[in-house]
């Protein structure tokens, strides 16, 4: 059973004796594949979680996560230490998801339709279903709420979904989100405002019960 980590969205502090991301990146740029393997270990959990919340299908999320890391490896020679590796990686993941969405709906002429993200079934028995020591009725309620939230997120456009996932789930700063989505901070703010407004409407019961 896969474990879900509902940690706070701050990045974990690296132990003093572990190499930093920057050190691993330098080693990987010099051709050290094991250094890159360590970078994959460190970041795959967050990348996979983010992509899965965007595409809603475990298999596609798995493939797109792989694609992101392979693309990152190819682009590694061009990575400069000006930005954080994680932010740069998120951007590659974001682009992979975006390209995937466009490939799935080429006739839309670049305008993305929320319909393509409609999930057929969210299987509570899937491998990524969390396992907690909850009472069965509590676990069911938690699962129902999660399904409700994911259904509401699906009704957002990919840009609005992405911004609210990066901010409210991943806990990223405005500046980093703007880098990832290749837009201005003002655009991030306005998309976030719209997304939250819409979620409030879609999840009215949850908002009023707060």
């Amino acid at each position: 059973m896969n474990k879900r980590v509902r940690s706070a969205s701050k990045e974990s502090q690296e132990a003093d004796n572990e190499p930093s991301d920057e050190e691993l990146v330098s080693q990987a740029q010099a051709g050290d594949a094991s250094a890159y393997d360590e970078l994959v270990n460190r970041h795959r959990g967050r990348i996979y979680a983010m992509i899965r919340q965007m595409v809603k299908n475990d298999a596609d999320a798995w493939d797109l996560s792989q694609e992101a890391f392979i693309k990152a490896w190819r682009a590694l020679p061009r990575f400069e230490a000006k930005a954080q590796f994680s932010t740069w990686l998120y951007r590659i993941a974001h682009n992979s998801v975006y390209d995937w969405a466009r490939r799935k709906r080429p006739e839309s002429g670049g305008e993305l339709n929320d319909e393509i993200f409609r999930s057929e079934n969210i299987d509570p028995a899937s491998l990524t279903t969390p396992s907690h020591d909850q009472r069965p009725d509590e676990a069911l309620k938690t699962e129902e709420l999660r399904i409700k939230i994911e259904a509401a997120l699906e009704k957002l456009t990919p840009q609005h979904r992405q911004v609210v996932v990066l901010k409210d789930v991943q806990g990223m700063a405005y500046k980093d989100i703007a880098d990832i989505m290749d837009c201005s901070i003002g655009t991030v703010m306005s998309r976030l405002h719209y997304a939250r407004q819409k979620l409030q409407t879609l999840l009215k019961d949850e908002y009023e019960a707060r």
Binding site: N2, K3, R4, V5, R6, S7, A8, S9, G31, A33, Y36, D37, V40, N41, R44, G45, R46, Y48, A49, R52, Q53, D58, W62, S65, Q66, F69, I70, W73, R74, L127, T128, P130, T142, L145, R146, I149, E150, V164, V165, K167, D168, V169, Q170, G171, A173, Y174, I185, G186, M189, H193, R196, Q197, L199, Q200, L203, E206, Y207, R210
Partner: protein, 209 residues
């Protein structure tokens, strides 16, 4: 602060991302603005709801296999981009002068072998064929890989039966030729739990030419 702060500062106040002093300063103005107070309420609610019900980090299914595939792609790309080995003038092998004599001896030997009428022995192929690495993430599933000149088939034993109402997509429809595969197929077998090393050493592995 009694004047409206700039938008970015207000946005940080909405997100509760200002330090204490800055937050207090912005709050002086913002607290009297219902729409900004509402925005902060909305932000707090959204973060609380999404943050506690959706994971920021999630373990990738089949994590080892996930990494292994990435490593494999990297290896393939590194091999593709590795420059072909070349021997410079200054680095010629010290025994290079032997080559013409060796070549002549080889030709002579080949002639003698062919001349006496006895059939030449089968020589091992010049290239080494690598056994496929079989991976079955599900316990109790046997995987068998059959490769022949005409088809490559992967057989899985131990998976759930396919429902009667499942329609096979056109791309998966191939004419089976079991008799030819049985004669000249190269077979490899893997059972979950053996690991890659055991799969390579499988007694069922045999190659026919």
């Amino acid at each position: 602060m009694n004047t409206k702060p700039d938008e970015e500062l207000l946005a940080l106040w909405v997100e509760d991302e200002l330090d204490e002093a800055s937050a207090a300063s912005v709050e002086e103005w913002a607290i009297s603005q219902p729409e900004w107070v509402e925005l902060r309420e909305q932000a707090r609610w959204s973060k609380s709801l999404l943050g506690s019900n959706l994971p920021a980090e999630e373990e990738v299914p089949h994590a080892e296999f996930f990494n292994a595939r990435i490593s494999r792609e990297i290896r393939i790309e590194q091999e593709r981009s590795a420059p072909a080995a070349s021997v410079s003038k200054g680095q010629r092998m010290p025994w290079a002068w032997l080559m013409p004599a060796t070549a002549a001896a080889g030709i002579a030997l080949g002639f003698m072998l062919g001349h006496d009428g006895s059939p030449a022995q089968d020589l091992a192929p010049a290239t080494v064929s690598l056994s496929p690495v079989l991976y079955t993430p599900e316990k109790g599933v046997d995987a068998e890989y059959v490769a022949s000149n005409d088809a490559t088939v992967i057989l899985l034993a131990g998976v759930d039966a396919i429902p009667d109402d499942w329609e096979i997509p056109e791309t998966a429809m191939l004419e089976p030729e079991p008799s030819r595969m049985a004669d000249n197929g190269e077979r490899h077998r893997h059972r979950h739990g053996w690991g890659q090393d055991n799969a390579k050493q499988s007694d069922n592995s045999r190659a026919r030419h």
